[in-house]
Symmetry: C2
Subunit: 211 residues, 2 copies
């Protein structure tokens, strides 16, 4: 049986079940680690599930920061240094990736705290995660403050991509399952990915599936 | 071996492989159908992989629209009617959901073209997808034009949620695998979800995995 849930019932739920509910409701999300560095070169690493594609040419990605009612190291570091990295979480490191969400003191690097290894290149000040297979170096581009609740859409432009030599298929695709990529539902439920099918480009002349 | 790919190499790829590459690179994405209706009550349905969590209380979700260089029915309908629905794509309907991305003529409803069934409630003018298990009715809240490339972040507030009676666990979670929820890599590679683990809330005092 289908039931209908209204906003007042959602508001009446206690905080943690409401968070779990509304975060898992709309489906699977990407899990990425965002690496940054502050003005004193102290590294920071944080897991995000709000990554969103903005464009391919030029290559832009965005993500949502929670409201700036408390200091957000990732946010301040990106504004100060103009750079961040996006590191795709995979099967062998998701518990460490998840652990970066703990509330460490300012000055404690999540790299040290979780045992993940910072990796630097000549092109970017921000640290990559050495253990990740797929890493994107980003230059900060713009931010948008969401009026509704004070969250912030952060947008960057890819300036370097690090990945295994054989990762790109002739079609341009990356097989996520080959690299152990995981997804996350809500804030804590991790999933591995089982390929169903790659569908052809949809054309208006195709026969509708019910015909 | 790890290799480094620079923006000029990305720009030199031909269009379709570049789209496939940069869209699959950052990992798995949610697959949802967005349902709208125009001023003459003509329904529209389109698949999106750019859904993003904005907040839980009040409940906000956002998604990215491509640049408005051509008419985008979803965009115009949301502005005209102030409402849209988000319908989570599952195993039994992903080919039909994918087919909504075909370039149908204005006036041809993707519901009719794909055989999916519009479903209406008293609270919302926009159509839900009857075949979906998890459906969120949204009231349009705000939009943000991305300066970098003209895409638009659209934000709405959940005003009604339709779901199976037994879908919400005591913890508030929804088990995506119970409802056949799929994910999508890029624009065309569909995946089913295999649960790995639900991890506890991360605390700074936890033992680091490498200790």
């Amino acid at each position: 049986m289908e039931k209908s849930l209204l906003p007042e019932e959602l508001a009446a739920m206690s905080r943690v079940p409401r968070l779990n509910f509304f975060n898992t409701l709309p489906g699977i999300k990407p899990a990425v680690l965002i690496g940054t560095v502050d003005g004193r070169n102290r590294t920071n690493l944080a897991i995000f599930n709000s990554l969103v594609h903005i464009g391919s040419n030029p290559p832009y990605l965005g993500f949502i920061m929670r409201p700036l009612t408390v200091p957000r190291h990732t946010y301040h570091n990106i504004l100060e240094r103009g750079a961040f990295t996006i590191n795709v979480v995979h099967r062998d490191i998701y518990p460490q990736a998840h652990q970066t969400s703990a509330n460490y003191e300012w000055g404690t690097s999540e790299f040290t705290a979780t045992g993940l290894t910072p990796q630097f290149t000549d092109r970017l000040v921000a640290p990559y995660v050495q253990e990740c297979h797929i890493k994107i170096g980003m230059q900060f581009e713009e931010e948008h403050r969401i009026k509704a609740n004070g969250t912030v859409l952060m947008i960057g432009r890819a300036v370097e991509i690090l990945l295994p030599e054989n990762a790109i298929l002739p079609s341009g695709h990356i097989n996520l399952e080959d690299w152990g990529t995981v997804g996350v539902a809500g804030l804590d439920a991790y999933y591995r990915l089982e390929p169903l099918e790659r569908l052809p480009y949809a054309r208006a002349s195709a026969i509708a599936p019910d015909n």
